[in-house]
Structures are given as structure tokens and as C-alpha cells.
């Protein structure tokens, strides 16, 4: 990997202290006659100093205790996954009680069910003829990212529909 380095690469590695001692000495020698190389190093040095000086200011006002308190409170908060409430159909229940109540309950249920069937059958052809318009696109109902950080986006498709994109950080080194 170290063979065939360009002059720019060598100069950058020299600047960053990444060259082996012999290579470093060789670059130092070549810089003695190179105004351009020396100028480049000066520019990089200025940039480095500027970035270091402003970045020192960035962390200067940091309230470490407050930040750690936020971290601690998030660590100790219980994990609540987003869960869509299940929509279960209520099961038909046997009316509790004595035999007579059970009997009357059964008869009443039967007639009520018959009425329900009648209404459903009458209604079904209409709903069949006028189906609800299909919503285009895709959307997320529920997501559990485990211990990862994830983001849910909506991106527009070709026909203007909204498409779901789930973006999850992958921090682990791949272990096929």
C-alpha cells in the first residue's frame, strides 16, 4: 500500500506524521528546494490551528453534569416499544347464569345473529359495487429498532405516493 505514493500523498502523510522515519527524512530534504511544498504545508498548518482553536471553544461551555444527568435518565427509562393496539374481534360469549338464562340467551343470540346476517347480506352487494378507493404508498405502523438508532422517512414515489423508508444505523462490523 505504501509503494507508488503520489507527491501529494507523501506531503500529506508527512504533514500528519504518518511516514516512516526514512521517508520522512526524504520528504524533509525535498522540501528544502520546494517553495510550493512549503507553502502547502503552511496552509495546512493554518487550517489546523484555526480548526483547533475554534473547536476548543465549542466544548468550553459544556455543562458536563447536566449532560451526564440526561444520559443517566435515558439509560434508566423503561423501554417502551411503539405498539399498535391490537384490534381483536370480541368473541361470542355464553351468557353466564342458570340454565333458563342460558336458554333464553341462546334463543336471543340466534335471532340477533339472524338479523345481523340479513342486514349484512343486504348491505354486501352495495359495498361490493362501491369499493373504497385504495390508498397508494406504504407507511410504517410499528417499529422496534432494538438497541439501534433508527429514523423513519417518507419519500415521494413516481406517482406522488408516500413511501416509507426505515433507516437504521449499522454500527457493528459486519460478521457474515
Amino acid at each position: 500500500m505504501e509503494t507508488g505514493k503520489t507527491e501529494d500523498e507523501k506531503l500529506q502523510m508527512f504533514f500528519d506524521g504518518e511516514l516512516a522515519p526514512e521517508e520522512e527524512a526524504a520528504v524533509r530534504r525535498s522540501l528544502e528546494g520546494s517553495a510550493e511544498g512549503a507553502a502547502q504545508l503552511r496552509d495546512w498548518e493554518q487550517l489546523r490551528k484555526a480548526m483547533k482553536s475554534v473547536s476548543a471553544d465549542w466544548a468550553g461551555e459544556l455543562d458536563s453534569d447536566a449532560l451526564f444527568a440526561r444520559i443517566e435518565s435515558e439509560i434508566s427509562a423503561p423501554v417502551v416499544p411503539i405498539v399498535q393496539p391490537k384490534q381483536e374481534q370480541p368473541a361470542l360469549r355464553v351468557v353466564p347464569g342458570g340454565r333458563e338464562r342460558r336458554v333464553w340467551g341462546g334463543v336471543a343470540t340466534g335471532f340477533a345473529a339472524a338479523a345481523a346476517i340479513f342486514l349484512a347480506v343486504m348491505a354486501w352487494p352495495e359495498s361490493h359495487l362501491d369499493p373504497a378507493p385504495i390508498t397508494r404508498g406504504s407507511e410504517v405502523l410499528e417499529a422496534d429498532f432494538g438497541s439501534n438508532t433508527g429514523t423513519i422517512f417518507e419519500v415521494e414515489g413516481g406517482a406522488g405516493e408516500s413511501l416509507a423508508v426505515v433507516w437504521i444505523d449499522d454500527e457493528e462490523v459486519g460478521h457474515p
Binding site: 480548526m51 483547533k52 473547536s55 465549542w58 459544556l62 438508532t149 444505523d169
Partner: protein, 204 residues
């Protein structure tokens, strides 16, 4: 860094065993530097605080998975970078309707044609104001870099990571690190030329 790596290794083991004081020790050791790195990427203090908070929470949640094949330090910065870059992606999505996407991603606009000019005043402020102006200029220039170029120059110039450490943290080959760094420096120099050429003197 040898003894520091060993110290980190010991602290990590203690955290894995449930020692909360060890976790605080790791936080104390790295949070300021992590914040500076996050600031270089997300450019906004509140967002950088969120990024560091998220990163340390994730460290805590995943510390049992940390096997020690990389140093804790590069593992932490990988997390900080992922969280910060994820934030940029989310905000670029939100801003895309009223923000020219080319400004975020077209590299040719940055180098050479003067498209990027930081907020500059021609007043003659005091040193602190000058420094804050330079800070804004640097953040603006960083903001114009593609995120992966931003990552390498922040890790190199602010955090002082070696090429190998950056390659480990960013999970790319060393050659990619070098190439990105070279291009990032070129663009930053072009963007900050008025500040670095001696017209505006930065305080050291």
C-alpha cells in the same frame, strides 16, 4: 496512548460488570472531545449535545457487545459519527423542500468558483468577536462539505486521530481516509482563504 488504551479496557470491563462509576469515568474522559467532533459535523450546539447524549446512551446499551477488537476510543467515535451523520440526513430530508440539494452534495460548487463565502463582516471587532467569526466561518465551510469529507477532517484536525484510527472508526480503508482528507482540506482552504491568508488573523 498505550496506557490510555489499557485504562479504557479496564473501564469497559468494569462497565460490562455493572460499575456505573466506570461509565462516568469513560464519559468524563471523552465527552468533550466527542462534543467537539459532533459540533464539527452537525454545526449546532443543541444537535451536538443530542448527538453526544445519544452516543453515550448507545455505548451503555451496547457495551456488552463490545469485544475489544477495536479500541474503545474508535468505537465511541464510530457511534458519534453515525449518530451525527444520521442527524444530517434527517435534517437534509426535512429541508429538501426549501433548500437547494445541490448545495449539500455538489462538490464542484465548493472548490474554485467562490460559490461559498462565509458570513463575513468588514468591521474591526475585538479578538473574541474575531474568533467567533472564524468559528462561524469554519462551521459554514464544514457544512458545505459532503458528510464523509466532513467526518475525516473533523476527526483529524479536531480530534487528532491517526489514519489507522480514522479507518477503524469510519470503517473504510486507509487510502479512502487519505483521499477524503486531501479533498476536504482543499475545499476548506478555498472556503476559508480570507481568514487564512492573513487578512483576518486568528488568535492562537
Amino acid at each position: 496512548m498505550g496506557s490510555s488504551k489499557k485504562d479504557d479496557h479496564d473501564l469497559v470491563q468494569r462497565v460490562q460488570a455493572g460499575d456505573s462509576a466506570a461509565f462516568r469515568a469513560l464519559f468524563d474522559k471523552y465527552h468533550r472531545r466527542a462534543f467537539a467532533v459532533a459540533m464539527g459535523v452537525v454545526k449546532n450546539e443543541d444537535d451536538a449535545l443530542d448527538a453526544v447524549q445519544n452516543a453515550f446512551v448507545k455505548v451503555h446499551k451496547n457495551i456488552h457487545k463490545f469485544e475489544g477488537s477495536s479500541s474503545f476510543y474508535t468505537w465511541l467515535y464510530r457511534i458519534v459519527m453515525n449518530v451525527s451523520i444520521d442527524h444530517i440526513r434527517r435534517t437534509s430530508r426535512r429541508k429538501s423542500l426549501d433548500f437547494d440539494e445541490r448545495v449539500l452534495h455538489e462538490e464542484s460548487e465548493v472548490a474554485g468558483d467562490g460559490a461559498l463565502m462565509p458570513h463575513v463582516t468588514n468591521a474591526n471587532p475585538g479578538k473574541a468577536a474575531l474568533r467567533s467569526e472564524l468559528g462561524r466561518a469554519i462551521q459554514a465551510a464544514l457544512g458545505e462539505l459532503p458528510e464523509h469529507h466532513r467526518a475525516v477532517i473533523v476527526l483529524r484536525e479536531i480530534e487528532g486521530m491517526s489514519y489507522e484510527e480514522m479507518a477503524e472508526a469510519l470503517e473504510v480503508p486507509k487510502g479512502t481516509v487519505m483521499s477524503r482528507l486531501f479533498h476536504a482540506r482543499k475545499k476548506m482552504q478555498a472556503a476559508l482563504a480570507p481568514y487564512l491568508s492573513g487578512e483576518v488573523v486568528s488568535e492562537d
